[in-house]
């Protein structure tokens, strides 16, 4: 698959602060990359360098193989960009604004009309087309900005927090739009909503203090959690020891931990051998043999925990 977005050793310094400290990544056609990180981690700065808005202090960025510094116009033609906060010219109508973008993208009058109509349909903007953008609700404003980014059907799409401030329905729509376009594009989506990564991203990169601290699928990242794929259950306090002993006899179980006691019941957690998933039959076996156990379930952990773990544990050792 063709690599459409390439960053190599991107660096950017603002005064004393090293905002981006050597970011290297590649996104191939068909991939949707989730760009995660705490506020101020350097997500937006990295995206600004990828889109050619900011000049990196070191390193380079290529869009569809074209260096954004050497041939900015050519690179920008291949690119759709939704900047942070989805800025648009508020004094224009949605139609006027999109037509302006289509013209500056080099489409002639008829083609511009066709493109605007197609983008409007995809983003469901037809009801507000003649309104001034500044009078629109946040959701519509965001969709106008997204329409602007996809108008020329670019190979590369870079979106800085595309669902920020949208209601759940609108978020769902935007995610579906991204998923629909994913097949023939390379897309980067920055977000701090982690469920979004699971919903639309084929890959996630976590950055912290200007460096990439994790890179993989959502599943890969969750595997890094110590309690991923463990089995947790509640048992009456009197039976706890016996149950723990029975559990540790299973071949798949490496260790049994007592997590805590509450209301006369003990919470137990069975950990699998490193990396090995506990087969689901085991869970049913437990249910069958240890009737006293309640609320037996497999803990998967969630991305929020991975995120917190990675971005806080790294803080102490980071050199920035």
């Amino acid at each position: 698959m063709a690599v459409l977005i390439e960053a190599s050793d991107l660096e950017k310094r603002f005064g004393e602060i090293l905002a981006v400290d050597g970011i290297t990544l590649e996104v191939k056609r068909g991939e949707v990359l989730g760009f995660l990180g705490p506020n101020g981690a350097g997500k937006s700065t990295t995206m600004k360098m990828l889109t050619g808005f900011l000049e990196p202090d070191a390193g380079s960025a290529r869009i569809a193989g074209i260096d954004v510094l050497d041939e900015p116009k050519q690179a920008k033609r291949q690119l759709g960009y939704l900047p942070e906060g989805a800025p648009c010219y508020g004094d224009m109508t949605a139609r006027g604004f999109l037509t302006f973008i289509a013209e500056i993208r080099g489409f002639d009058r008829d083609e511009a009309k066709r493109r605007v109509a197609a983008a409007v349909e995809k983003t469901q903007l037809s009801s507000v087309l003649e309104q001034k953008i500044e009078t629109l609700s946040k959701g519509f404003k965001r969709r106008v900005a997204i329409a602007q980014a996809i108008l020329h059907d670019p190979q590369v799409l870079i979106m800085d927090e595309p669902t920020d401030g949208l209601d759940p329905n609108q978020k769902h729509q935007v995610r579906r739009l991204i998923a629909d376009m994913a097949a023939d594009k390379a897309i980067i989506v920055s977000t701090h909503i982690l469920e979004e990564v699971e919903a639309v991203c084929s890959r996630a990169v976590i950055i912290n203090r200007g460096r990439i601290v994790a890179d993989g699928t959502a599943e890969d990242l969750m595997r890094r959690l110590p309690y991923h794929n463990t089995i947790a259950m509640h048992v009456p306090a009197g039976r706890a020891e016996a149950v723990a002993k029975a559990l540790s006899e299973f071949a798949a179980v490496a260790k049994v931990e007592t997590v805590g006691t509450a209301n006369g019941r003990v919470r137990l957690r069975a950990l699998p051998h490193a990396g090995a998933p506990i087969p689901s039959e085991l869970a049913s076996l437990i249910r069958a043999r240890l009737i006293e156990a309640e609320e037996v379930h497999v803990e998967r952990g969630n991305l929020d925990e991975v995120f917190r773990q990675i971005t806080t544990s790294d803080a102490g050792t980071s050199h920035a």
Binding site: T51, F53, K76, R77, Y89, F100, R105, G106, K132
Partner: protein, 248 residues
């Protein structure tokens, strides 16, 4: 080349229309016409002079532009930076020069519209007497050129700040200095302690002296070169400022 013209004109068209999408255009045009008229008739003594020319009309243009042109220029880049649309603009497939020139030309055309709306003055003076229309044309050309120079300075300052009020005040102050540098008042102060060439240099930077010559009908090359090169210089600085400050 074709692409440059195309992109610049698309940017310029958008900017020009943007002036009219807010009350700014109406307010500006009314005030401009009212003030040019008021100055010509009441301060300049248009009728009392008993001469068929527009000298009292053009005479006050530098002072009017001092306040009004920075008001047109202040939004050009400051607003773009404040609303974040600069990020959108600069990631479209256009060059920075196309954006800078497009914006400048739109604002200049807007001031051109304001000047065109003063044509009733010209008609009046032609009805009342037999003016030298060549001199009047030179006056209009000179006035438009001078407005362009003020505007380029204003656009350049506008790129330095997100705050339109600051952009306005700084640009107006700079324009004031450029106008004042030709007055004897200023030159005398300079003469006392600076070498002669510096006094000449400062006075040659003056909008007033250049404009006076043009308004008298002398559309000489040096004045045109002065305004055009000032515009070029300010826009070049504008380009640098946009690049430096866009990410702030």
């Amino acid at each position: 080349m074709h692409e440059f013209v195309r992109n610049t004109s698309i940017i310029a068209r958008r900017e020009f229309v943007a002036y009219f999408s807010t009350p700014l255009a109406t307010v500006f045009l009314i005030i401009f016409i009212a003030l040019t008229g008021a100055f010509a008739f009441y301060v300049g003594g248009f009728f009392e002079r008993g001469q068929a020319d527009l000298a009292p009309f053009f005479q006050y243009h530098p002072w009017l532009y001092l306040l009004l042109v920075p008001a047109v220029a202040m939004r050009l880049w400051a607003e773009e930076r404040k609303s974040g649309t600069i990020e959108l603009l600069m990631t479209l497939p256009i060059s920075p020069w196309e954006a800078i020139l497009g914006k400048f030309l739109a604002a200049w055309a807007f001031i051109g519209v304001a000047l065109l709306l003063t044509l009733p003055m010209w008609i009046t003076v032609n009805v009342l007497g037999n003016p030298d229309n060549g001199v009047i044309l030179a006056g209009y050309v000179g006035s438009f050129l001078m407005a362009g120079a003020f505007l380029a300075v204003g656009s350049c300052i506008s790129a330095l700040t997100k705050n339109q009020v600051i952009a306005f005040i700084v640009a107006a102050t700079l324009c004031f200095l450029l106008v004042m540098s030709g007055l004897e008042l200023v030159l005398n102060v300079l003469r006392a302690w600076t070498p002669g060439f510096l006094v000449t240099a400062v006075s040659s930077m003056s909008f007033l002296s250049h404009f006076d010559r043009i308004a008298k009908g002398v559309l000489d090359l040096s004045s045109i070169v002065f305004y055009v090169s000032l515009i070029a210089f300010a826009l070049f600085a504008n380009r640098i400022f946009v690049e430096l400050k866009k990410a702030d």
